[in-house]
Symmetry: C2
Subunit: 379 residues, 2 copies
């Protein structure tokens, strides 16, 4: 295997694939980067066993400037190869696999010889031949991920809750995550997929990593499901993730359908006030802030307190407040995560009782995005 | 004590002073920020016992927009106070010390009450009344620090070597640092200080921190020495550091005066090649690169090697090579540190023998800046 390529082109693809490679793996060959060169192009693969990323550099795309001298394959130590490629002196570089998988990397007068491994020993990626992929705009998928993945559990005690539950049915995609203290649910209308039916749980970590690969130059993402894998194809990059096995709890009955107190805020203003209040709650043992809604006086006040440091009190500005007066306490970090998912919009928070979960929805659309937070008992 | 101020003005000064404050101190009150308000202005102080920084906000400077309602003093928990001030909602803020050192911080509808401490319990800064300060341009001082501090020892086994030795005599300032493997020496001509005589050792850490406070808007720095302290005054900021006690070793005889091989490089090109070679040497147990100078063939070649990963070989481009042929091995990290101090200039490296220290000087000025590196025996 021998090729010459523009270094900047190669680095871009190398960066995409390197996201999947970790030095913490227990499978030594996975600390390597796999390269397979055929007449049609160069394919790079990185994997940590949970996530695998494969990216192609097309030989026929002139901008790639890939000159193939001989085809073949190799696995090179990823961390070094990355550092070497980034520090080479010239704009192009040549990679040349020699005897015993020794690989010569040259650029200008600089010449590296690196010990490689046989690519035949690298784990194979699953073949996912589902003929009927879903297609979702990349920015919508990225938003959906960022809005739901905040609520996945980080604790391995209930592994199923570390994933996002995706149900595709009757032309709708519903994504739900909950760590049992809070829940995030996002719904997409997919009229083109009205006959599709899937029910899968994707690890939150995989989705977070996928979301990072979805840069602004990507328009659409194709999603293909197989037995225990999901494949996201975006441009020349294929992103594989394993699925979580098991039954996700039924979350539909958790979302309250009635409310006794409702308040409308601009999400960014409320977020800033919550961040201030949490400066003090973070110093106290229970990390709780208190919200007082006085519907008669039309005031909303937030309180944070730390016995050691001091306290904070802030009159919140809101757009509308109606229903019964209420005092409720909650973890401000859950509120911050939820508010960040709403961006610059106005939101409605609906309460039923001081100890019942409350919901946040965009004022303009109560149906497609909902965040639910369980309050904290403080007495 | 009560004052109102533009938040952005206050934050700038707060950031300067906060550099000296650490949560790792064993003296609890030093985790706090001291504020003293008099009719002439507000003085903020932070300290970690080794370094103290004091900065003034002048009441008479209109741009500061400092409105004083009553004078006084307080110590507030620095980390919180910082976070609070940065997150307040409005452009101005009011600080109001009440009974029992409780301090009210208000901005818009946000109201923090923070437990403060009596400023009388804060350690006093030394009074340094030396009537005859040295004045050095801030950019020259910053360069001098960055060129020498790289060579200070990081090991506490010989505490004296963790400092930079400063000798001011006969209108010259000589700064030297060495960790016994390498040495950096910078000389400044100070004709205005021809009668001054000082011989002090300033902790490297203090100088690194001082260098960070020397932003581009500062023209000159005034330096005052006292018994066991040095004070740097830059604009409205006073930077105090303790001095190291003891005798610094005589370093003048370490610098060779003759050479058998000389080579001239452009510093940035050599730095890039050394960085490439060190990618592999860092993986080997002894972290050494080898330089071969063939004066007959007029070639300079650098080699790096790691038994596990591979090796690198690079023909270096140079401006001039003369004298005897030589092969020498050295720690590439020392070379990198040294080269970074030279910036974009051409440098001359002079060697005497494979096991004797070699020197780096700017091609244009061999007298005022010299780096010395001890090679490594590899056989």
């Amino acid at each position: 295997m021998k090729f010459t390529i523009t270094r900047s082109t190669f680095i871009k693809t190398l960066n995409d694939v390197s996201r999947a490679i970790t030095s913490k793996t227990t499978i030594p060959i996975l600390t390597g980067l796999k390269m397979v060169l055929s007449d049609s192009g160069l394919v790079l693969t990185g994997s940590d066993a949970d996530i695998s990323i494969e990216a192609r550099i097309d030989a026929n795309a002139e901008t790639n400037d890939l000159q193939i001298e001989s085809t073949g394959s190799i696995v090179l130590p990823a961390r070094f190869f990355n550092e070497i490629v980034k520090r080479l002196p010239e704009a192009t570089m040549t990679v040349d696999v020699q005897d015993n998988f020794q690989t010569l990397i040259t650029s200008g007068s600089s010449e590296f010889t690196i010990n490689g491994l046989d690519a035949n020993n690298y784990p194979r990626l699953p073949e996912i031949v589902n003929p009927d992929p879903l297609t979702i705009p990349a920015d919508v998928l990225k938003q959906l991920i960022n809005q739901t993945v905040i609520a996945v559990s980080t604790q391995e005690s209930r592994p199923i809750l570390t994933g996002v539950h995706l149900v595709i049915e009757a032309g709708q995609l519903i994504a739900v995550a909950t760590d049992s203290h809070r829940l995030a649910q996002r719904t997409l209308e997919l009229p083109a997929a009205k006959d599709a039916h899937y029910d899968v749980i994707i690890p939150g970590k995989s989705l977070t990593e996928l979301s990072r690969t979805l840069t602004d130059d990507i328009d659409d993402v194709e999603i293909r499901f197989a037995e225990n894998q999901v494949l996201f194809v975006a441009g020349q990059t294929s992103f594989y993730s394993r699925l979580l096995e098991g039954n996700y709890p039924d979350t539909s009955r958790l979302i309250p359908t009635t409310s006794t107190t409702r308040i409308e805020f601009d999400a960014p203003a409320l977020l800033a006030a919550i961040q201030r209040a949490s400066l003090l709650s973070h110093e106290s043992s229970n990390n709780v802030v208190r919200l007082n809604l006085d519907t008669a006086a039309q005031t909303a006040t937030i309180y944070g307190n730390s016995p050691d440091v001091g306290n904070v009190e802030e009159a919140l500005s809101f757009n509308r407040l109606e229903g019964e007066a209420l005092e409720i306490s909650f973890n401000p970090d859950y509120m911050k995560d939820a508010l960040q998912g709403f961006g610059q919009t106005a939101i409605e928070i609906a309460f039923t009782a001081p100890l019942r979960p409350f919901t946040l929805v965009p004022s303009e659309d109560h149906e497609h995005f909902i965040q639910l937070i369980t309050p904290v008992r403080t007495f």
